[in-house]
Amino acid sequence: MGGFSAQDLTAIFVMQGFAGLSFFSVLLLMALGLAIIYGQMRVINMAHGEFMVIGAYASYLLSGALRHLPAGTDIAVLLAIPVAFLAAFVAGYLIEWLLIRHLYHRPLDTLLATWGLALIMQQGFRSAFGAREVSVPVPDWLRGSYRPTMIIDIPLNGLAIMLLTVLVTAAVWWFLYRSRWGLRVRCTTANREMSGAVGINTKRVDRMTFAIGCGIAGIAGAAFTTISSTGPTSGSLYIVDTFLVVVFGGAGSLIGTIASAFSIAQAQSVMEFFMGGSMAKVLTLLTVIVILLLRPEGLVASKVRR
């Protein structure tokens, strides 16, 4: 790196740190919904990516509907978060009732059934929205960059997603560890029969948990459609990274998910800087495999009695 002034290198270092953080918040936002569903309920939901896509399309429709209003794009971007949550929540609620609840004790069947569901949903999106990728127009105050000094540019949309991730993570934490509802969820995870015996409606807990997990996926989808585009098969791009984060972090642990998203994102973004995208991905995956071989339960093991 000869020939660069110390000032240049500091600027690149700061921006590179931010690139890693921004990738971290993207990964975490993707993984939160799955951390609830897989972590708490042990349901392998292969259609998780498609719930993100539902959220993305919901925000696309919303911005289309509000396009002609004054300040329509500004309102649409803010309104997209609750709308996307709601759309994916409702879809998740219905699917739990129609499909998932019949398969709770058959993990392999859930895997196949949700994979089939993912294919059906993809074709559904394709029939409804066409094969072309769509994206949501971003208001001016979310474009461009924040410049603390002349040579440092911090992308505004990255900052916005980071903020959203912090809020959603805090909400999930509060929901799981501070609310009555979360208590029941954790109870059901720990011991289903006993929870039923003490009067918890475990079926309702399952349904709400699944739906909330899907709703959070919807929020993630709405956020991503502002940085990338959404097509019928976009969900399948997200699902691998999402599972990677949740499994690596240790199912059932919110801290584990955060730690895992952080380490994967930083490792990948630093390696990307030095050796390019494909090689970075290979090395990241290899490291994750090795660590999982040594620690099959993931970074943070959940304390569930076996």
Partner: protein
């Protein structure tokens, strides 16, 4: 199939009269054609040709991840076929397209090709988009002796008697683009970035050799992002550190949207950085958003905004047929040329036989092409002009430079 609506018919009444007037002429013509070319003479190999129809295949991905890109090609090919039919068809035969779905799956492309050739006995296939699908179709085409019109700009290094390449091969698009940056923009240092698969890698190899060995410039870096990659922060920082005169980009698919949006978000735009891409057409800008590519340059042979009479008529007909909102990219236009080139080949050969048409293709000229003049080279690619377009906010490009017609050279010596 819907009937063609002529752009020049102001009232249904008038088009009716014109239709009635044309009827005897068409009848006379087809009798004439029949009298001169009985089916058994112009079809000696058992293709699906009758006294008044000829069957062809259209094979693109209608479903799956590639459907995004291939839809425009299907629309253009159908439009061309409908227009040819309205003019009386080919050798007096109406063209009947059979549309098959390659489903973004390469073995399916091979399988559907076999079906089109052995069951449907089509006289030509218009199709394929990715190199992978073309490579899958090629052995079947050669074994069953079919004829494919392939519309996409691609990496070159291929030439088959069973394929006519209507898009540009790599050297036509890349060398002209880099020469333009060198001569007109004074660029001396380049940064290459692309998606990680065969087309960008081959293209960048050609670009690097041209920049370093032919022009004497400098390549400051070469990056590849996995397909579907959406976090370009690290790549952007690397580029910023190197500070090239021109970023030369071949990022494809959904990644393209993330790449340009993140460039923009990182404060890199046309005001402080020159960028030349070989993977952005009007179709891609629809997803990326005009404001994110504004001022950047694309090297293509066709832009929807081309100012000539052929193109004006083509754009109008396309919008009338497929909707006012549709956009036309480079590949869509190249796909539109396929049926017209095939028609010219059949008429020159006076036969639908694959070998006769294939042999007749060389040196066919088309003066009605929306991109302007094109001519088939004996190496089965097209002579074509390369244009540099600067993107505007509205998703259309302004052509700022165009080359003379460039000879296709799919096996460039010294670039391999």
């Amino acid at each position: 199939m819907k009937t063609i609506q002529y752009p020049c018919s102001p009232t249904p009444w008038r088009s009716l009269t014109m239709g009635l007037m044309a009827l005897p002429v068409a009848l006379a013509l087809s009798t004439f054609a029949l009298a001169n070319s009985p089916t058994e003479e112009i079809n000696t190999t058992g293709l699906a040709v009758t006294d008044d129809t000829v069957r062809v295949g259209i094979l693109h991905s209608l479903t799956g991840t590639m459907a995004i890109s291939e839809t425009g090609s299907v629309e253009a090919e159908r439009l061309a076929i409908e227009q040819i039919n309205a003019q009386g068809g080919v050798l007096g035969r109406q063209i009947e397209p059979i549309i098959e779905d390659g489903a973004s799956d390469w073995p399916t492309f091979a399988d559907r090709t076999r079906k089109l050739l052995t069951q449907d006995k089509v006289a030509a296939i218009f199709g394929a988009w990715t190199s992978a699908s073309r490579k899958a179709m090629l052995p079947v085409l050669e074994r069953e002796n079919g004829l494919l019109y392939y519309p996409t700009f691609y990496e070159g290094l291929e030439q088959s008697p069973n394929v006519i390449y209507t898009g540009q091969e790599a050297t036509q698009q890349i060398l002209a683009g880099i020469d333009w940056a060198w001569n007109e923009q004074g660029a001396r240092t380049f940064y290459l970035i692309g998606s990680d698969y065969i087309w960008p890698r081959t293209s960048m190899k050609i670009a690097r050799i041209h920049i370093e060995d032919v022009l004497g410039g400098e390549v400051l870096g070469e990056d590849y992002a996995p397909l579907g990659h959406t976090s370009f922060g690290s790549n952007i920082n690397r580029i910023r550190l190197r500070n090239p005169d021109v970023i030369f980009a071949a990022v494809v698919g959904g990644s393209n949207v993330a790449w340009f949006r993140q460039l923009n978000a990182a404060g890199i735009n046309a005001e402080n950085q020159k960028l030349l891409t070989i993977s952005v057409t009007e179709d891609e800008v629809l997803g990326i958003g005009g404001e994110n590519v504004e001022g950047f340059f694309s090297s293509m042979k066709y832009f929807q905004s081309l100012d000539n009479d052929n193109n004006a008529a083509f754009v109008e007909a396309f919008k009338q047929r497929w909707g006012e909102d549709s956009v036309i990219g480079d590949v869509t236009q190249a796909a539109y040329l396929g049926p017209w080139l095939w028609k010219a080949g059949v008429e020159k050969a006076g036969s639908f036989d694959i070998d006769a048409v294939s042999a007749a293709m060389a040196d066919i000229e088309l003066t009605t092409a929306p991109e302007g003049y094109v001519k088939v080279h004996p190496n089965r690619h097209l002579w074509s002009q390369t244009r540099i377009g600067r993107w505007n906010n509205d998703g259309q490009a302004t052509v700022v430079w165009e080359s003379e017609p460039i000879e296709p050279n799919p096996f460039p010596e010294g670039y391999q």
